[in-house]
């Protein structure tokens, strides 16, 4: 009799548990992200160039200017101005004594500090604005530096026991890893007034096994891929696609 009672109660519990767990279904969503800046006053955008450095393997100014222009062409409503990028390093050095001039080769963030006045030079940017019919001007700094870090890395390894059965076990090894750090600062200048409207910074890094020969340029593009969505969402609204789980 007691066994029968236990059976009845356990079935009741099972029903309760099943109904509590419920079921789920996957659904696609598109999350809209509003633009950080209001650029409705502009019809054109001029990616003017960047103060760049860190490594000689990649021309940060040239590559960033090209990449941003091509992204803006397809993902923004602004008309992209095709013109040579500005000789910003020369402009920054103009009118300064040689010992006060910013370093010609930028190696680290400290070297970039010497260029801060360039972006705050309202007269210069206003003049550039007039030249290109008062666009939104995009400029800034790009530091792309080699990086090395030694650390414990976990990888999976196949092992076979005495019966020939295969197993995958985690193995921790000390590894030398090399890669790059990308630290861009994007500065948005109003071409009508020459003043800075907005600026945004990012920092991304990538590491590979020391024996893996990855070209610096492909690392640069991999890191820029991570930065670009945030850059674009400053200027135009974006929709980010994803999937979520609905529960019952």
């Amino acid at each position: 009799m007691t066994a029968r009672l236990a059976k009845i109660l356990s079935s009741l519990a099972a029903v309760a548990v099943t109904s509590a767990c419920g079921s789920y279904s996957e659904i696609s969503i598109e999350t809209p992200i509003r633009a950080t800046m209001d650029v409705s006053a502009f019809q054109r955008v001029f990616v003017a160039g960047f103060i760049s450095g860190g490594t000689e393997d990649v021309d940060g100014n040239l590559e960033t200017t090209r990449l941003l222009r091509s992204q803006l062409r397809t993902k923004s409503s602004l008309r992209v101005i095709d013109a040579d990028s500005l000789p910003l390093q020369d402009v920054a050095a103009e009118g300064r004594e040689s010992e006060q001039a910013p370093p010609a080769a930028v190696k680290d963030e400290k070297d970039l500090d010497a260029y801060a006045n360039l972006f705050a030079n309202v007269e210069y940017w206003k003049k550039i604005g007039e030249e290109y019919q008062q666009p939104l001007i995009v400029t800034g700094t790009v530091l792309f530096t080699p990086h090395q870090r030694n650390s414990i890395v976990q990888r999976e390894e196949e092992v076979y026991d005495s019966f020939g059965r295969r197993r995958v076990v985690p193995v921790r090894t000390y590894q030398e890893r090399k890669g790059f750090i990308l630290s861009p600062k994007f500065i948005f200048i109003d071409g009508r007034t020459g003043t800075v409207m907005h600026s945004t910074t990012a920092r991304e890094e990538i590491l590979y096994n020391a024996n893996q020969a990855t070209p610096a340029l492909s690392s640069y593009f991999e890191l820029m891929d991570r930065v670009i969505p945030s850059f674009l969402s400053t200027l135009s609204s974006q929709k980010i696609k994803g999937t979520r789980i609905l529960l019952q």
Partner: protein, 117 residues
């Protein structure tokens, strides 16, 4: 006879709070309807249904999870965060809610990234 009375007592115990059970049943209907309309792309209607479900039963974590997803889809990120956090307070070990919340946070962090100027 004795067994029957024990089973009856068990059933009575299960139905001890009929008001709570009714509220959860009604909320569940709203959640199911919300899922059906969301799958057809009618997100505003889904929000209405899931908000109703959370009013009927404020302890219904699944309803809060779904509401958070709908707010996300509509770009109401602050409301989405609030709903996810309430859902996780109610069911901190629910792996599916946690997964949704992690994905949401990636987007939310990007949208609210600290910019200068």
């Amino acid at each position: 006879m004795r067994t029957a009375s024990v089973v009856l007592a068990g059933l009575l115990a299960l139905a001890a709070s009929p008001a709570w059970a009714d509220a959860r049943d009604d909320a569940k209907k709203q959640v199911e309807f919300g899922i059906a309309v969301a799958q057809r792309g009618l997100w505003r209607e889904a929000i209405y249904r899931w908000e109703r479900a959370t009013q009927l039963d404020p302890t219904y974590a699944a309803a809060l999870n779904n509401l958070a997803i709908a707010y996300e889809h509509e770009g109401e990120l602050a409301k989405a965060r609030g709903a996810y956090e309430k859902a996780l307070e109610l069911e901190p070990d629910n792996a599916l809610i946690k997964q949704n919340y992690e994905l949401f946070r990636e987007i939310n962090d990007r949208a609210t990234r600290k910019d200068t100027q």
